[in-house]
Symmetry: C2
Subunit: 421 residues, 2 copies
């Protein structure tokens, strides 16, 4: 049982490593059967999950958690079904493992290719939402990786209940239950120990606020895929269709302001500032958005607050928007390079040359022409799933789907090839 | 000048970062022109290089470096031309930057793709061979990355001379010379400082012995691509063509025993041990190979030494071979899993089912059927170049060519797409 307090972190990691070698060999059919069984069991045992979740909620109330925090913790029948449906969706996705992504013949006849394989053991360190337990485990199982889950202490009863059920699903499908292990001892020291077990854990993915991610990145001996903040920009070019620009700006800011791919700064070409800013300003104001503008912005929007240098760096995650008038596209690109976070940037323009140059030159995990920043998401971009969005460039940059949870090995079919000097 | 002692590591890293944004935008033509100019300048200024190299050699003799070490340091006209030709070869390779590796249309009409981009700034930490200065710089320039080179103190005069010339080539081609910077202050503390500059350096590649790589990996806040040891195996199956098996074993062991892709352990199926071992034993013995065998091996090769448990872990890099008789392929795969280093493993067999299963199940950066382990090399596998071989799975696994020095960003061409809830 992974829930015994006496099991050490090292034991858990060793068990997961052992299980990972079996899971790596499992066929797609068996993995999908496990995912579907896990989904059904979550729904069948929703009573047990809600009971354990109730303990977390009660303790949360005692500890004085905010209403928003308690809502994030809460598991209802609808939310449990959502988790189950998430697993069913992952079962439908193509299996990346075993795919030969490329194959070529060498002059000596050797047939060389690259075959997708799982990474091994993935550690997920997350905060309060218990649905991450099922979502992350599902993606790891499908991609052939064992997973070590370390959720927040506030959700510990819920997480233990969910992971126990998921392990039961693995077992019933004939897979090793230690392919999903939960760290039930939520003392902080165990995270540090986890981050030192490079021999057993291949990748760490922290999911949560910037403080958590930085702490994990700074203490880990294991590679970490980081998702820092999203200071996303929309640049409205001189040749923008202004109707489109208004719609894209409003959608990027207000469709869901609390998430990382929402726009935080709007950059407007000087030549269209007079025509564009009053129009977008009205729409944003009526949507409840507070605007913090540069001096030139405030000429056109006298009601806007004054932006300070800090505003250009800010990820508000709220109905607040920084607005700056720029002299041309290069000025916009320089602003993005100085203040941006490599997350998502969009240009609105009907000018072909600038559209292509913006795409080529802007250094972000997603660069868009004439579309909302809100599309930076694994589902929206067509990856079928997402375990997070990487804003650093090593291994993965942008939304991470199943493929990003794999690597490739080289394979070679020969008929006696030898190396000559 | 990067060679001033007063320039701090932070200054160097900032300059390289700045240069990297310009290099990332450079066209293939300009980068190739720089590479060719660098090559010509190396040959034109070979007198200067040899003079500076002479200082390193002299100091090396005073310090009592071994003959092998001094030979590694030595630069002759032929070796300088080899460096130059290396740069010319890299100029001929396709430019990975800007390649759109995949593109697809979403149901809402958004055209989404993945475009290759440079990583940014790459730090190379290496030991005594001064040719690495030119080889690594060439690959980084071609892939649009700035590079910070930190070579060994024994080669410092040679490295300064080479990097000064390479920077001249960049400048003459209109590229920023700070795209190649050399850390001329070789105190150990500066490595630690370099490894902490995660804001400016995107990836660290250590090239050298295991001790160097471990020290770098343990101290780095920046992602490190590791190349640990190569304990490579050849498994001779029951259904092997024994002529082929002898040739592959001898080539894998003796063609160049001092390198990471040479075979270190030979695994032989029990059913062919009697027919195979005396034959391969004779050939290996006459090539000067010392054999350390398990008890069963020594029944067939009475002259072999006795292998200890340590031998199965050993990377000899020498004319020594560990030999073990196994009961079947699963026994061989288990041995590889227990003692291997994820580097290179080959099976020799004419059995189709086992060939395919070995390819699928063995977890190494290159898995071969009926070919020598010596093919695990970027040039031999057709990547055109190689900056190292990764034996860890994050970002790259196996030989790293130009593509492995890039990542992909998502790009999206829209016509007003908005996200709905």
């Amino acid at each position: 049982m992974t829930t015994e307090k006496t099991v050490t972190m090292l034991d858990l990691a060793k068990r997961a490593k052992e299980a990972s070698t079996l899971l790596a060999k499992a066929t797609t059919d068996v993995k999908d059967r496990a995912l579907l069984r896990m989904a059904d069991l979550l729904e069948e045992k929703s009573g047990y999950i809600k009971e354990e979740n109730g303990k977390d909620l009660e303790r949360g109330k005692e500890k004085g958690l905010s209403k928003a925090m308690l809502d994030r913790l809460l598991l209802t029948d609808a939310r449990i079904s959502q988790m189950a449906d998430g697993l069913r969706e992952v079962a439908k996705l193509p299996d990346p493992v075993g795919e030969v992504v490329k194959m070529w013949r060498r002059p000596n006849g050797l047939l060389v290719g690259r075959m997708r394989i799982p990474l091994g053991v993935i550690g997920i360190i997350y905060e309060s939402r218990p649905n991450v337990t099922a979502d992350a485990a599902g993606l790891c199982v499908k991609s052939g990786n064992a997973v070590i889950l370390r959720g927040g202490s506030e959700a510990i009863h819920s997480n233990v209940a969910i992971s126990t059920i998921l392990r039961e699903g693995l077992r019933e499908a004939g897979l090793p239950e230690d392919a999903i292990v939960l760290v039930s001892d939520t003392r902080r020291e165990l995270i540090d120990e986890m981050l030192s077990l490079e021999e057993y854990i291949d990748l760490i993915i922290p999911r949560g606020g910037e403080a958590l991610i930085r702490r994990v990145a700074e203490n880990s001996r294991i590679p970490v895929i980081k998702h820092y903040k999203g200071v996303c920009h929309v640049y409205v070019d001189r040749d923008a269709n202004l109707d489109q620009a208004v719609a894209i700006a409003v959608n990027s800011k207000t469709q869901r302001p609390g998430v990382c791919n929402a726009m935080e700064t709007l950059l407007v070409h000087r030549d269209v500032a007079e025509a564009f800013l009053p129009r977008v300003g009205e729409e944003l104001k009526s949507a409840g958005v507070e605007i913090r503008g540069c001096a030139e912005t405030r000429k056109h929007l006298p009601w806007a607050k004054e932006a300070t240098e800090e505003d250009w760096y800010e990820e508000y995650l709220d109905l607040i928007l920084a607005v700056r008038v720029v002299s041309d596209m290069d000025d916009a690109i320089n602003h993005i390079r100085t203040y941006g976070s490599l997350h998502t940037e969009a240009i609105v323009t009907d000018n072909y040359e600038r559209a292509m140059r913006f795409i080529a030159e802007v250094d972000s995990s997603l660069v868009l022409v004439n579309a909302s920043t809100r599309f930076n998401d694994g589902y929206q971009l067509g990856l079928g799933a997402e375990i997070g969005i990487s804003t650093t460039k090593i291994h993965a940059f942008g939304p991470m789907g199943l493929e990003e949870l794999t690597t490739t090995k080289f394979i070679a079919f020969g008929n006696g090839q030898l190396r000559s000097s």
